[in-house]
């Protein structure tokens, strides 16, 4: 009897274990990439032949060793107040203006450029954020070139030896590592965008546009000089910016991580402007969502407060609103900022790790919003 019972118990346990196993197996993770084999399949090519320069060095933007990014004549370094987060990559920005050409000052939106102007943005990781002399690895150099009244994006990928960068259209994923300001070694898979992904962000009313060089973003001390002079004023002094009265009379974008430059709300708005508004605006790629995050958007519902999602799909994370005042944990904003899932994360492209410092700022901002005032 007792033996029989034990046998029965054993069988039962085995059956239960089997059920447990099979039911676990059923919930396969659909996100796992299967293995693909390489195969030699010839494609009939119908691709455009471009006359774009093949190497970055062909442009002559920099003198001496290319990787030093030492600007030649007519190439002007610049910086912006609140940049787009790009997986902790740092950026060295330059404007190239053909000799004698000027930028036309615009109080709102980017400066106006003439044909021949080129915006140059180098993405790099310092080997050690604590030590500027430890060197850096430049990953890519993105160009926006103005020709025949239109902007065209081109991208150049740096070689291992850092001697030059080569024209690339299709993008690439590459492993990068660096030591951060706390001395921790960080590693991630950096995604170089393909040509169409460039266009996705640099899009206003279906035209390609620059994003960074706006009056409010440029309105700061000129960092490339010891001298204490405002960047906009300096460009005016150099004779490459026309139409500016004084920088002082212009809007100034707060620096997202500098508490002296604005309140939490102001800095959060600056952060959202730089990281989201290129798509989330009335002109951007995400206009159909009805969420507008430009710095000067004052309609709280359009900014996401108690706004239900329109096209979020699973990006809503079962939350009802983009922002629930006082409750970051119930806000879709936070859900999407702390996710790395390509179907959920925001921004959709250009980020593969969570920007913790940005998340902290947005947490503070949403916590500080008071429900009753909406």
């Amino acid at each position: 009897m007792s033996k029989k019972r034990k046998g029965l118990e054993k069988i039962s346990l085995i059956v239960i274990a089997l059920i447990a196993l099979t039911s676990c197996g059923q919930k396969e993770d659909k996100r796992t990439a299967p293995v693909a084999r390489k195969a030699n399949i010839a494609l009939k090519t119908n691709t455009i032949e471009t006359n774009a320069l093949k190497q970055l060095s062909d442009y002559g933007f920099f003198k001496g060793q290319l990787a030093q990014l030492n600007p030649n004549e007519n190439v002007y370094p610049y910086a912006i107040n609140t940049p787009l987060f790009s997986d902790y990559a740092q950026k060295a920005r330059f404007i190239y203006l053909p000799k004698g050409k000027q930028m036309d000052f615009k109080p709102n939106g980017p400066m106006d450029f003439e044909d021949g102007a080129i915006l140059i943005k180098n993405f790099y990781y310092p080997n050690d954020e604590r030590n500027p002399d430890a060197g850096r690895r430049i990953i890519e150099t993105r160009l926006l070139i103005k020709e025949k009244g239109a902007w065209n994006p081109l991208n150049y990928l740096w070689n291992e030896d850092q001697t030059d960068a080569e024209l690339d259209y299709v993008g690439k994923t590459m492993a990068v590592d660096w030591v951060n300001s706390e001395g921790k070694t960080k590693k991630l898979d950096y995604v170089v965008p393909n040509l169409n992904q460039c266009k996705n962000c640099h899009n206003a009313n279906n035209k390609i546009v620059p994003i960074g060089p706006t009056a409010a973003q440029l309105n700061q001390r000129y960092r490339s000089l010891q001298e204490d002079i405002n960047q906009l004023d300096y460009f005016k002094k150099l004779g490459i910016l026309k139409g500016l009265s004084t920088a002082e009379a212009q809007d100034k974008m707060p620096i997202w991580n500098d508490v002296l430059t604005g309140s939490v709300e102001e800095r959060a708005k600056a952060y959202l402007d730089a990281n989201c508004a290129h798509c989330h605006s009335a002109q951007g790629s995400a206009k159909n969502a009805g969420l507008y995050l430009n710095y000067h958007e004052n309609d709280q519902r359009r900014r996401g407060v108690f706004k239900p999602p329109i096209a979020a799909g699973k990006g809503s994370g079962d939350h009802q609103y983009d922002i629930v005042p006082g409750k970051p944990e119930e806000s879709i904003f936070m859900y999407r900022m702390i996710s790395n899932d390509p179907a959920i994360r925001m921004p959709e492209i250009g980020r593969s790790v969570v920007h913790q410092e940005g998340v902290d700022l947005l947490q503070q901002y949403i916590k500080g919003l008071v429900e009753e005032s909406f």
């Binding site: 455009i48 706004k307 799909g313 390509p342 492209i349």
Partner: protein
Amino acid sequence: MKKRLIFLFVFILVVAVYFLQRESLPTYSPSRDYIDLEAELVEQFILAKDSSVIELPAGHFLFSQSLSLDNKSHLTVKGQGMDKTVLSFKGQSSGAEGIKITNSQNIVLEDFAIEDAVGDNLKISDSDSVVMRRIRSAWTGEVSVQNGAYALYPVLSSNVLIEECEAIGSSDAGIYVGQSKNVIIRNNKAFYNVAGIESENSTNVEIYGNEAYENTSGLLIFNLPELTVYGSNVNAHHNKIYNNNLTNFAVKGSIVSAVPKGAGVIIMATKDVKFHNNIIEDHKTVNLAVVSYEIFAADEDELGQETLASEAQARGLRAIESDYKEDESYNPYPGRVSIHDNTFSNANFLPTFSNEFGLLWLLKNKASIPDIAYDGIISPDGSLQDDEHRLCVRNNSNASFVYLDASHDFEGFTSDRTPFDCKLNE
């Protein structure tokens, strides 16, 4: 002995629970042998010449990133057939879509399959003159909330033709036309989706010859608030919509997560709708419903069993009111809707009790599932006879009809079709 009985009891319970919970969710599992031709094909797409053809070879091609076409014109992407050429985005690490087409004109996509994108399988926006022909767009495996949202998704586009395509396993809508103009959706199949076919905020849409089955809901004709574009003028005919009773597996918070399973067709807040010569069969909630945005947006969870009518109604309305204030250009009521010459039947005797409509039929309609239900919510100062709100229902074999009178706590609930026996735009 007692111990043994308890053990046996637990054992049986575990087995029983296991089999009961194993709700039979449908599964689409084609066999695949993935090939990596990613870099070459990505380049073909990005650098495609205008007025050319991208020929996709036979094979199952796996991608870790989206394929995209931007600012192209007169371009054809052609595979070797939906069973032979498969573009799979399973486990993709970059981009949310499978194929994304933007700012393009005169684009033809035909004869291939798209699978398992993390977001939408095929999204086309801000484009004109687009054809999707014999495209099978699917998520493989058992249907799941992990599946992407839209299988075929033209949005903010014009002159769109979707024909002989298949949409399978979308966690939102299979064939989903949003905020577009001049659209034909014909001879397609949609199954295992939350919504099989959905026309959302689109104008001049003709939907015919399609089959939608085994979705949560077969066909949605929706007009939603707070979008850049509103839609009207939808003509749906000669479709077969049957057995859409699939458990809703959409993400909560999405609009389709509020669609009750077993709703064959829902016409919501859309003006100038013709719905005729269709076959609608075997739905456990309702074969066809004509509703305002108000009743639809009332959250299911708030409609408890005891608070069937007034409370839920009040809550639903309150929740939505803010929308109207914000969005004056939106009209939340359906109108000039003509439903005629359709064939309705239902093999289900009892409605599902998984949603408030089933319970409403139990209390108010002798537990019988109506073929056609109209919520009767109209603008506060309007009347049912206004041209703006007109609903005509005639000559639908022996279709049963209910008028819910939802704006008066269902007081005027009736199955009398007489006030709606009229002809409109036929």
